[in-house]
Symmetry: C2
Subunit: 106 residues, 2 copies
């Protein structure tokens, strides 16, 4: 199950902070590392945890490796978990779907 890896990835403050940084713009591994007290290798491993979880994507451009956020994966996992846990929200969602099917694009 991939939700497993995602929640695991989110269980670390530095990793959540990395995601927040990446929410604004793509950044190189070095850019990210410079925002923390930690060593570069430590950041590199955090990035690899995030990438394995499918939360970020990396791309090498010349000397640099750019990281960017994979919003869909994160948002989907968190909202679907929220709905699973919170039947009220789930009921609202069903209600919303029903309305949509009765009266398209409103």
């Amino acid at each position: 199950m991939t939700a497993d890896r995602i929640f695991e990835a989110l269980a670390s403050q530095p990793r959540r902070k990395i995601l927040a940084y990446l929410s604004a713009q793509e950044l190189t591994a070095g850019d990210i590392a410079s925002r923390f007290e930690m060593s570069a290798p430590a950041i590199s491993r955090h990035l690899s945890v995030l990438e394995t979880a499918g939360l970020v994507h990396s791309e090498r451009r010349g000397q640099f490796v750019f990281y960017r956020l994979n919003k869909d994966n994160l948002v989907n996992t968190l909202t679907s978990f929220t709905f699973e846990i919170c039947p009220v929200a789930s009921a609202l969602k069903r209600e919303s779907r029903k309305r949509a099917s009765l009266k398209p694009s409103t």
Copy 2:
């Protein structure tokens, strides 16, 4: 920071499963333990992690301890994190607020 404890609590499959069980109804510690392969003490500790994070509430009634979900805390944390990470959603939220202030109850 309490989001810390919440994400930490969510980083465990058994604990997420417990939350899912509790989303349907309140349960005693024993009810919950019986749904897992694990020993009762192990479940008891998972429950205490969830309670410390503010995700569940426990109440002793006679011989039993009943657990129930604290939905607000969970939903608030997850959605606010989602908005933090996903500026698009955040922009939508702002937009939505603006509309609401211009044209109440629509």
